[in-house]
């Protein structure tokens, strides 16, 4: 009895020494990535939050202003306008890219001649450089010389006057949303197609034997199989589009989504880094809030 316990104790202590060593070794192994994450991700975030409490001076003598920067932002009606614009933009582009991507993926999942070629051609908007396609869109929608107004106004008389669809504050958001969907749906399409191809065809055969029609097959097999895939695509697209700057800004400067508001507020003319940091912080909190609501309430993960 006595000797047994001694033995087990010595095994235990030896085990804990080994465990200790392994732990240390483990820390040693993750140290490089830890250093990178802390210095390149965590430090900037913390420093950004820190800066948002100061009026940042070029000379380096920052002045502590408490939550004045944050107050200035959340009492600015333009800020809330841009939050609304952002939500509308994110909502419609996310839904649009996912739905169009889903439809195209379902279509491309069927067999037809030259399918491989068509599948790769669909990726074109996604892989084309933003600046090139943005200019093409601007030429198309130019109110005086553009092909769109030429057809819609001169030929079809759809409008009573020439309209600058791409720049006017009333209409530019629609063009931006349309552009966002057109530019980014191939990504959703690609992901969904991969998901569709992974579904066991045996499931469909079984369903057919049970007498399922096309819609029922989609409702009870395809959709549940790609449910989490769709959830992730929507989440990713929402995050990306919430922070989207270049597509919107290059296309039309009049759709003031949050990143553009930040740019105009903090970086035009005199740099206002304190305000910029405060906006970034508020934007971050908003985004986290949306994600949490989405994950908990919509996806029920």
């Amino acid at each position: 009895m006595n000797s047994d316990s001694v033995i087990s104790k010595s095994i235990f202590t030896r085990g804990s020494i080994l465990e200790d060593r392994e732990k240390k070794f483990g820390w040693f192994l993750i140290l490089p990535s830890l250093i990178i994450i802390v210095s390149l991700v965590l430090y900037p975030i913390v420093y950004n939050i820190f800066l948002s409490f100061f009026e940042v001076k070029v000379t380096g003598n920052n002045e502590f202003t408490g939550i004045q920067n944050h107050l200035n932002i959340i009492t600015d009606p333009a800020f809330w306008q841009s939050v609304t614009t952002s939500i509308v933009y994110v909502l419609f582009t996310t839904l649009g890219t996912t739905l169009v991507g889903l439809c195209v993926a379902l279509l491309m999942n069927r067999k037809f001649p030259l399918r491989g070629l068509v599948r790769s051609l669909i990726l074109l908007p996604y892989v084309a450089p933003v600046i090139a396609v943005v200019y093409s869109w601007q030429f198309i929608f130019d109110p005086v010389n553009g092909i769109f107004m030429h057809i819609a106004y001169d030929k079809l008389h759809l409008f009573t006057e020439r309209i600058n669809l791409i720049r006017s504050p009333d209409t530019s958001i629609y063009v931006a949303i349309l552009f966002g969907i057109w530019k980014n749906f191939p990504f959703s399409y690609l992901m969904i197609l991969a998901g569709l191809q992974a579904i066991d065809t045996g499931l469909y055969e079984a369903a057919e034997i049970d007498g399922c029609k096309g819609w029922q097959k989609f409702r009870y097999i395809t959709f549940p199989e790609i449910y989490f895939l769709l959830g992730s695509i929507i989440l990713l697209r929402a995050i990306w589009n919430f922070n989207k700057f270049e597509e919107v800004f290059l296309l039309t400067q009049n759709v003031k989504v949050l990143p553009i508001y930040t740019y105009l507020k903090a970086f035009t003319g005199i740099m206002d880094i304190g305000h910029g940091a405060a906006i970034a912080m508020i934007q971050f909190i908003l985004l986290i809030g949306f994600i949490l609501i989405y994950v908990k309430r919509v996806l029920k993960w």
Binding site: V144, N145, E161, R162, N164, P169, F267, I270
Partner: protein
């Protein structure tokens, strides 16, 4: 295995060490203390960069102990980059900046006024046009934030043949401009009255607005620096601007829409002398059209008679005469390094020497006019590579150049420098106000109250 790794490491070490020694040896053979200058130019186009680089190469060949790095910076980013560089302690040695930015940076203490004075002494202060020099005067009279290098004049360019046919007066007064703009505005035929800026992120709006406000005696500040923006005169000017903006092509517009004029779709447009070569020379105009928007579209043909049929009104009159122009200077940031400053002064002095100066100015025919007397009438200046100036004739060129003496600006009131005007300019408050009125349909009083509140925030 281990051995081979050790050998590999050793050989890498030896190689790098020997190259280090080699490099060190090379350095010693060169001159004792080479000075390195960084020159931020706002000429970002590659052909202009090549010309400036050629001037630099010529200079450094004569001065082997100075090396110069040329950095192109877009004019809209200049202020931002300068502040970032100042915060980071990596200021360039020479910058090419316009008056508004020079004053904004100068008032923050980033620019070296002593160096500017030294440069003015070397080049000869009396040679400069007073009007151009005045734009760079610091708060302390007689000191300057930068030294004028080239300038452009803005005016209303108009289709003289259309005006003649319609029996209209040239657009030199408010009445004449408004009457003509409304007369020619015919959206059904895709023809528009006048182009002025209505985009909220473009300085072009304020450049169009300034002569309109100034000609109505409406300033931003009084001579003691008190904000007097919300005045009846200013409201008249804003309303007049909004009235003209109704005759522009649809939607928010900026200077790029000048192409509509070249296509014969517009009667008038606010523009600087930069347009001279587009109007006069076929290849240039075609390049401008195709590189922007309109290759192959109807109306893209060049009208060879356009230069003959285009006239310019550089002064606008209502209650008084006002002109608008922009002068670009060479400025030296505060560096605390006398060697670098001295080298920068020497290089700039070279850039003011006649041959280098005219070579530089010929990079943008029309857009870069000389800022001192005795250049515009020289054979060499009038004989530009594209043959543009000869199409206008020496007399017209000299007349335009002398307009640089009559530039009005919100930042100078009765000879006093109001630095806050530059801050307002760089924060684009007036363009935002114009956008709100003309594009979002905001009431003039409300938009002006908004602008005034924003200006007050900046001043305090």
């Amino acid at each position: 295995m281990k051995k081979s790794i050790v050998l590999l490491l050793l050989s890498i070490f030896l190689l790098s060490f020997s190259s280090y020694i080699f490099a060190g040896g090379q350095e010693e053979t060169a001159s004792s203390e080479p000075v390195e200058l960084e020159f931020w130019t706002r000429q970002t186009q590659s052909d202009r960069m090549t010309t400036i680089q050629m001037l630099i190469d010529t200079y450094t060949a004569m001065n082997p102990d100075i090396s110069i790095k040329l950095v192109p910076v877009d004019e809209n980013d200049m202020a931002l980059n300068m502040r970032a560089a100042s915060a980071a302690g990596t200021l360039p040695s020479i910058i090419e900046i316009d008056a508004e930015i020079a004053v904004a940076l100068g008032s923050e203490g980033i620019l070296d006024t002593d160096a500017s004075s030294a440069l003015l002494d070397r080049v000869g202060k009396d040679k400069f046009f007073d009007g151009a020099l005045r734009l760079f005067e610091a708060k302390d009279k007689g000191t300057y934030y930068g030294v004028p290098y080239h300038g452009m004049i803005q005016g209303i360019w108009y289709r003289a043949d259309w005006f003649k046919e319609a029996g209209l007066e040239p657009p030199t007064t408010w009445d004449a401009v408004a009457k003509a703009a409304e007369y020619f505005y015919n959206p059904e035929k895709n023809i528009y009255g006048i182009l002025l800026g209505t985009m909220e992120t473009e300085s072009y709006d304020e450049q169009c607005f300034t002569p309109i406000a100034m000609s109505n005696n409406a300033g931003l500040f009084d001579k003691d620096g008190k904000l007097i923006f919300n005045s009846p005169e200013m409201k008249e000017a804003v309303e007049f601007y909004a009235r003209l903006a109704k005759t522009t092509p649809p939607g928010p517009q900026t200077w790029r829409a000048r192409d509509y004029y070249l296509q014969g779709r517009m009667a008038m447009f606010f523009y600087s002398t930069y347009i001279m070569d587009d109007l006069a020379v076929f290849e240039v105009a075609m390049g401008s059209l195709t590189s922007d928007n309109f290759e192959g579209l109807k109306g893209a043909e060049f009208d060879p008679d356009l230069v003959k049929n285009t006239k310019t009104a550089t002064i606008l009159t209502n209650k008084k005469d006002a002109g608008f122009g922009a002068v670009v200077s060479m400025a030296i940031p505060k560096l605390n390094n006398p060697d670098v400053t001295e080298a920068a002064l020497d290089f700039l002095n070279y850039l003011y020497s006649p041959n280098a100066y005219i070579t530089y100015l010929h990079m943008a025919v029309g857009g870069m006019m000389p800022v001192f007397e005795g250049v515009a009438n020289t054979e060499r200046f009038l004989n530009d590579p594209k043959g543009v100036y000869s199409k206008y004739g020496a007399e017209k060129i000299i007349e335009i150049t002398e307009g640089l003496n009559k530039i009005e600006s919100f930042g100078i009131v009765e000879g006093n420098r109001i630095e806050a005007a530059s801050t307002i300019y760089s924060k684009k408050i007036i363009p935002q106000m114009i956008y709100k009125i003309t594009q979002e349909g905001m009431d003039v009083d409300k938009a002006m109250a908004w602008a005034e509140a924003e200006m007050k925030k900046l001043i305090n």
